[in-house]
Symmetry: C2
Subunit: 305 residues, 2 copies
């Protein structure tokens, strides 16, 4: 146990370990902070060449993976994020065979993609091997598909990977990044998304996590504008999900299509409903799919302002 373990995350005071000690992990920007109580010692902690990767055992959400003090996912709350980033594009476009995931080292996105049995190949490009290792060792429900025969896992820079990729090869590209600092910063750039567009087959689609409209308003707005510039105004659609383990609890995704399905008019509700039931999904259902694309007026105004 190092000295860090003796410091209360929320209060930054040194604490004496005892059965009733209250130890908190905090994810914050300059004005808003979310704290989640955990059981004390970090289960995993390693400083990789890119970031500090940690796993905490929390009281409310089970085991939780963090990177440089930002929540990546937790056992109890990860379904919302992974089901929404994957099944929204995949249930709109049932002919997806070849998928690329940028980031997503915990394995949750790959696990959800492989629930679609028509998928033939998934390529995942994660820059930080330590995230993969931590998840494989301590988050088995997330990483369960990381050894799947259809998966080709590259430990590599996703930006470089798409830059060097041939054109028009993927039916689906998922950008499952962390926040736009550190190694993920370049995943919020115009050049990166130009490559993403180029690598998509005609009829292909992409989804990306696109931050919180309140917590990271600048990144949220900029990314939407960036994607509209590349895919075209009418082919970019923002959608929302409740993710209580992320600051503000309101998280956005962006779906962009290179001639693929429209998110509402092309939605096959009965197929979506059947898939959700058969796969025991915890967040996604046919109603939620439609509802997620309905934005509060102030968010529409942010994106059109």
């Amino acid at each position: 146990m190092d000295l860090g373990d003796l410091r209360d995350e929320a209060t930054q005071k040194l604490v004496t370990p005892k059965l009733t000690r209250s130890v908190w992990f905090t994810d914050r920007n300059e004005n808003i902070a979310l704290s989640i109580r955990h059981k004390g010692d970090r289960i995993f902690r390693e400083k990789s060449p890119f970031q500090t990767v940690e796993i905490f055992d929390t009281f409310e959400y089970g085991k939780m993976l963090t990177v440089d003090n930002m929540v990546m996912c937790s056992e109890k709350d990860e379904n919302a994020y992974h089901e929404m980033i994957i099944h929204v594009p995949m249930l709109l476009n049932p002919s997806i065979k070849n998928a690329l995931v940028i980031g997503g080292g915990d394995g949750g996105s790959v696990r959800e993609i492989l629930k679609h049995h028509d998928v033939e190949k998934v390529t995942m490009v994660e820059i930080d091997e330590v995230v993969v290792k931590a998840s494989q060792e301590f988050l088995p429900t997330l990483s369960s598909a990381l050894n799947h025969p259809k998966l080709e896992l590259h430990i590599d820079d996703g930006i470089k990977f798409v830059r060097e990729s041939p054109s028009e090869v993927y039916d689906l590209i998922v950008v499952d990044s962390s926040d736009p600092v550190g190694p993920s910063e370049g995943l919020f750039s115009v050049d990166f998304y130009k490559d993403v567009y180029r690598c998509l087959k005609p009829g292909g689609v992409m989804t990306a996590q696109s931050e919180s409209p309140r917590f990271n308003q600048r990144a949220f707005v900029d990314m939407n504008a960036c994607l509209k510039g590349i895919f075209g105004q009418e082919h970019v659609h923002c959608y929302l999900a409740f993710i209580p383990t992320y600051p503000t609890g309101m998280w956005s995704f962006t779906y962009a299509s290179k001639g693929g399905a429209h998110p509402s008019s092309d939605h096959d509700r009965s197929r979506a409903a059947e898939f959700a039931v058969n796969n025991n999904l915890q967040y996604y259902n046919a109603d939620i799919h439609q509802a997620a694309f309905c934005l509060p007026t102030f968010i529409k105004n942010m994106l059109n302002g």
Copy 2:
């Protein structure tokens, strides 16, 4: 300035006031905490016979009203709460003339009700005069309708008020309570909601804030069961809104009808859209109305479990 002002809310450390000091308000349960940075001194602080009422000036959300360390509302984020608790029932039931608000001392609910010009009378029953006073003095955008000629304001116990009320007098009852501790505890009881049901006219409806499914799961589930027992299974409908200033950001409301409109099949979309535009609503729109009633699967399971 009292000693409390020298203590960092998030860290509980004594701090030396200086221009760059970082002072935080924290709303927490035993496992989750939400902290919001403010500018230092409390703008208002009074211990009433019921609770400690405070107003902070926050960086992210403007002025923020708190009661016993729980966020009640903030200038920037209050629209979501007040528009959703009021316009959902009112745009479903355009013949509402006589409305009762229990709680809601900040005035936001009354302000939204009075945007519907066919309303003839609003009765508001707030137990704590200090909340009303604080809002009138420091939150003018919230309290702007508290002097409206159609409003009858009672400083009284809402539980006693409905118990002593004649039967079948209100078209709409809004339960705009704080969390189920302190003076609001009785607003989460079967006896209270039996009186609410009795006081509604045939064809009347009620809405209540019904807590966070993650932060206060017990209260959320119990209240739904309680209302189904009184109004009947098929007349009780839960809906959700993103409220980043409340812990977990995912907040629920419950709409219950005594023969009033169904929340989706009776929704007049074009009327709702026109109202939202004419009144410059910031959160509610016709799509959001429908979307709010679409629940993630794990929440449906909580309510049916």
